[in-house]
Symmetry: C2
Subunit: 436 residues, 2 copies
């Protein structure tokens, strides 16, 4: 766990924490609307001496839909700890980083609850939002399953309607037949859905999809459809009609890498505001091996790969720059050999970083090199009976593009509840709570 | 085409027609609500001398949904020929033959237009009909995508609700998320959808599905979702959730065999009422190679296979019976050798027929041994430009269970329109119109 390198890094010697925590909410801190025992106490142990602010950078990451302000207020009220909206990652929040789509005409499909999809899309930075209802009104002969909604009189298409440039799927809508039909129309016509479609085209407009949970546990005995179920329909209709696979420009929400990157970015910003200069580990606490743990493990692999890539690319670029510098006839000899001076080093680092920059404007804090996963038993996951083996999933309920492997769902730690999870982190990080 | 065997079979010598005709409606006789030129004239050439009744057995077979009385009235009005409801095959009509389900509790999913699914199911003989809405009301926590429909107060499940015994899918419903969720709940719980589901069960309740058209041409430039699109969603969600394939007890509507059998049965009943004692050929006229022609060809193959099977089985049974008769010690010698007497022959024939009886109570007229397909160019199909080759389908828009082959979509005859189709039939059958 790397703890052996941190003997001096505990707050007894007045250091800042070199770690951040990413909490899943449902099944870890709350069950529905009810707090899980010791969740409040656990969060309080992360506060500073005054008990008013977090001393350890923490974010709360859910696949739920809605406005982060609302979720922050709920958490604050239920858990008795002041949670800031900036600490919340709703499933759609990483879309904030996709600046290149914010000024494009985006068809937004999603729920109407919790503020609704337009409000949520606006909060993410989208400026040219078109809804399914807008498309229905502009092209009245497309939504054709429900005959009760057929136009009563002859109506014209609205030819001034903008050409759609991207499709943003924020969550499961109602009337799936309408959304499925219009989204496919937009994809098959490159954004002008009253033109004849291309049944066997190979490429399509960018599709950004948020929250790929197939099912989720609500009040019924069996789990209910999530947005992942809608995506199964969309993917398979696209495949049936065109013969090709629907390709997502981005899949967002746990277990996707983007969501972990975004959460890490938030943790870094919080750390910066706390004057923490170095972070080495992010801990992800969750109750669902298929989303929370799978995602954390995948992100950890990504961090390892990235570290290797950076090292390799820096070395490559350094070599190239050295070559250029030593070849440059106008460069004074002193400078040519002076490759070790600060500005050249910085240039090399920046050039190397540019090569590994990812979604949108993410450039991670350089120090973080590990995401450690902690599985709790207060939600979806139940520990196997003593003496029995861990059951492997018979059926892969994860998304098509993120295939199940048993290894990816194995957590670094399995503990009873969030209290034990925090205790584990504190032990590894040699951290002592400051409050209470 | 077998016409060489029928030299004497023309109505100049006062014989009855030995053929029947199965018409597709849309693209052959009507386009939307408008008659196709010469359609009326063509139908009139099938009437008897009085111009009031059909002299040639004819049925009208559509993948549309609704009550046959309504369709018969429309055809009569638009085409100026009195069409009887008994001549109509709506997509769901073959379900009349599935007697074993008529007294079972069936969950019926389908459209609300044209009489609605309950009325249509009743007209087919179903006596214990449960709707999606009934299930929603009995189990208020299942339909969970649309939060506007969540119960406002705590409500109890209705434990007296009958255990569902079969699922009948009559056509595309509205609010697909609701129907998909509840149908899956019923399948995963063997008919008691508030019990915990079996995510990886291997078998499920019988599913009867009507009309598998993926898309259909309406007013928009591009075809719209048909019931086949709904089935794609259902099949793929079932597969994703359980890991197994959804298996249909029956797929009904063109191009399924059942629909052709049913149409043939109607033609036979009509022929009987006209005192026609022998039918050898059924002609299927359609505009869609993927449904009308594919189905006719498949049915023709089935008829060939069946004829061979009957011959083989009759021979087998005859041998067995001869064996038994010659072995029987109490049978007088005269009778033992008298295997050629009438009653024994009849017994053999009945026993053989019982071995090949199909869906429900269908026993086909023995004579029909050929289904000839005729493709017209007034609908979906367009003849290739002279000098160019017939384009093969890039993408299979047919149902999962009826895979596309180029051979199956090749018609025995390709003609301009329904008039040419009828002329072709008359020529082959040496038949002269009696009216007009």
């Amino acid at each position: 766990m790397g703890s052996q390198y941190k003997d001096l890094n505990n707050n007894a010697s007045n250091k800042s924490p070199q770690f951040g925590i990413m909490f899943d909410i449902d099944g870890v801190l709350l069950r529905g609307k009810t707090p899980i025992p010791q969740a409040s106490e656990s969060l309080k142990s992360l506060l500073d001496e005054t008990g008013t602010r977090f001393a350890v950078p923490a974010v709360f990451c859910t696949n739920g839909f809605g406005l982060r302000e609302v979720k922050a207020a709920t958490l604050s009220e239920k858990l008795g700890v002041e949670v800031n909206p900036d600490q919340i990652v709703m499933s759609q929040n990483p879309l904030e980083m996709f600046h290149e789509y914010h000024d494009k005409w985006c068809l937004v499909s999603g729920p109407e609850h919790d503020g609704g999809s337009v409000k949520v899309a606006e909060s993410l930075g989208f400026q040219k939002i078109l809804t399914i209802e807008d498309v229905r009104k502009a092209y009245p002969y497309l939504d054709w399953v429900d005959r009760a909604r057929w136009p009563k009189e002859t109506v014209d298409d609205d030819d001034s309607f903008p050409t759609i440039e991207a499709v943003v799927l924020l969550g499961e809508p109602v009337r799936w037949e309408t959304n499925l039909q219009l989204i496919l129309d937009v994809l098959l016509t490159n954004g002008k859905p009253n033109r004849p479609g291309e049944m066997n085209q190979r490429t399509h407009l960018p599709v950004l999809a948020v929250n790929m949970d197939l099912l989720w546990m609500a009040k019924a005995q069996t789990p209910r459809f999530g947005h992942g179920a809608f995506l199964v329909c969309l993917e398979n209709l696209y495949k049936k009609i065109t013969g090709s696979d629907l390709e997502y420009t981005a899949l967002i929400g746990k277990p996707s890498e983007v969501t972990y990157e975004y959460s890490q970015k938030l943790i870094e910003e919080i750390a910066t505001s706390m004057n923490i200069t170095e972070l080495t580990t992010v801990y992800a606490i969750g109750d669902n091996p298929l989303t929370d743990i799978y995602g954390a493990n995948m992100f950890n692999k990504f961090l390892q790969r990235k570290r290797k890539d950076i090292a390799f690319k820096k070395e490559e670029i350094k070599k190239q720059m050295e070559k250029q510098l030593t070849r440059s006839p106008v460069m004074p000899r002193a400078k040519r050999n002076g490759i070790s001076d600060r500005s050249a080093k910085k240039a090399i680092r920046l050039a190397a970083d540019n090569h590994i920059a990812l979604h949108g404007d993410i450039t991670n804090v350089r120090g973080v090199n590990r995401c450690t996963s902690i599985l709790v038993c207060t939600g979806v996951y139940k520990a196997p009976e003593p003496g029995t083996e861990e059951a492997e999933a018979d059926v892969d309920h994860g998304h098509r593009d993120l295939p199940y492997t048993a290894e990816m769902t194995k957590a670094d730690y399995i503990v009873e509840d969030v209290k034990n999870a925090i205790d584990t982190i504190f032990r590894v990080e040699k951290w002592k709570p400051l409050y209470g």
